[in-house]
Amino acid sequence: MAVGPATIARPAPLTGRPVTLRALLEREGVFSWILLAPGVLFLLAFVAYPFFYGIFLSLEDRRVASPGIFVGLANFRALADDAVFWQVARNTFIYVCVTTVLKLVGGLAMALVINQSFRGRNLARAFLLLPFIVPTALSTVAWMWILDPTFSVVNWLLVHGGIISSGYSWLGNAWLALWSVIVVNTWRGMPFYGITLLAGLQTISPDLYEAAAIDGATTTQRFLYVTLPVIKPVLVIVTMFSVIFTFGDFQLIYALTHGGPANATHVFSTWAFDIGMSAGQLGMGAAVALAMLPALAVLIVGLTIHLRRD
């Protein structure tokens, strides 16, 4: 009978039966898998299965309420010839890259500011995290109103501040709309960077700064040679997480612009929704969503390896 090393010290069971249910449950492997089974089966059924089923769908010409016809890679070939597809790819790329840089820089600045000691620091931290906590769709409709073509408060401020003579149509102009979704995403995501980087900053021992100051390091040097190296691991993980989640962002853009005007703010997720759900072309929609996979796979594999190495 296989008994794990941890169980050797247990007193012998009172009953003399060789393999009781209880003894079986004491085996590490059996106990582990009994705990794991429900969750793992659930995730297999509702994550792994849909994932592979999505690949299957993308190879079909499949419309809502009609049987699918296998078409091989025809959906992907059609996408490659579609100018909108490449615009969506470009939008997604710009959206992810620009917001990541803005959130990273802004979040680091936020963390450095809150890391100073002042009264009400915890309160400030709590308030600054609020944009990240509130349901995104709800805060986004507030932004919709802030950027409203007729009654935008931003326009009111700019006009009354004498900066511009008449208001912009923030969500009606292709370039401004893309910048608008970028700004709103940054507004929402920056606190995540700020608060996690703050936690990273708080692990830095004051001795390090003192030593650097004694050696005559300037503020900039202390930041570059003490602060950055220490928080680099946190920085990398936070950024990778954020890139993956921004890449898969849907609700912010859907609520603010629906991908418009004229596809100017469509990203893969919103375009896939339009094609797959609104237009009912499940096969093509699945293909659009899967177009994210190569870049995403690199990110996910990279982060998974990075996390497990620790």
Binding site: W33, A137, V153
Partner: protein, 281 residues
């Protein structure tokens, strides 16, 4: 004494940027609030100074509660969030515990699988999921979202809890087992109670994520009576050419309140949950 130059430098390095962050971060909420209590004649008059409320009114809130399904949506959101949080916390614990503390065949595969599941974004899954939900005849039922939200929450809870479970010293558990505790008792009586902060963090976070979920709810719930707050607000309170902003902002604000209240009670657990993965303890 704080010198003048110190004060100037403190304003420049602390108070000024802090004020910018706070004002920028909170302005949209301020804007939500004052829009929701402005009468329409103020909202849609370009000559009225918009930054403050001149004659506050609760009309938009009354209209929201009486003329829309907002209360139904709130009930749906709460029900779904509570059920999925509890389910995910239980299943997440059951996955995290063996991964963090036990040796078993297949541990590496399960560990990678859970991490990957956590990172796979919903847009990759919602179209096949919509077809599956249709085939199960669960379209327009809350069961559809109760079944699918845990796919997001379980990996998150598991991943967060693993860190907490690992931090409990093995000696404590071994001592209990020498005294005759079974593995199950050691888990339930020793490890889990010590990880209460972690369970609280995971639970609160899962609750927030469930309240925030949008794509699955939008895809599966097309009828007003089964919608959740974010979907109801975005799809039904935004109405073409009618002036609807007061009511819309009232809905957005009320929809944010439950999360904000829970958040205000458990800020530290939130922050701990947020930073647990990024900063190694």
């Amino acid at each position: 004494m704080v010198g003048r130059r110190d004060l100037v430098s403190r304003i420049r390095r602390l108070y000024l940027p802090l004020a910018l962050f706070v004002v920028g971060g909170l302005f949209p909420f301020y804007w939500m609030l004052i829009t929701s209590i402005k009468p329409n004649r103020e909202l849609y008059n370009a000559r009225v100074m918009p930054l403050i409320v001149h004659q506050p009114t609760l009309k938009h809130y009354v209209d929201l509660l009486y003329e829309t399904n907002f209360l139904t949506w709130t009930y749906n959101t709460m029900l779904v969030a509570v059920v999925t949080t509890v389910v995910s916390l239980v299943l997440g614990t059951m996955i995290a515990y063996p991964l963090a503390r036990l040796r078993f065949p297949g541990a590496a595969v399960v560990g990678i699988g859970v991490a990957a599941t956590y990172l796979v974004p919903q847009p990759l899954l919602f179209i096949p999921m919509a077809d599956i939900i249709n085939r199960l005849e669960l379209g327009n039922t809350l069961t559809a979202v109760m079944l699918t939200y845990p796919t997001l929450l379980i990996p998150f809870c598991a991943w967060l809890l693993m860190g907490y479970f690992k931090s409990v010293p093995r000696e404590l558990e071994e001592a209990a087992r020498i005294d005759g505790a079974s593995r199950f008792q050691a888990m339930f009586r020793i490890v889990l109670p010590l990880c209460t902060p972690g369970l609280l963090s995971a639970g609160i976070f899962a609750f927030t994520l469930a309240q925030n979920e949008f794509l699955y709810a939008l895809t599966f719930l097309a009828k007003s009576e089964v919608r959740t707050v974010p979907i109801g607000v975005v799809t039904e309170l935004i109405r073409g050419d009618v002036f609807y902003w007061g009511q819309l902002m009232a809905g957005a604000l009320l929809g944010s309140v439950p999360v904000a209240i829970i958040y205000s009670f458990f800020v530290d657990y939130y922050v701990a949950g947020l930073t647990a993965g990024a900063v190694k303890n």
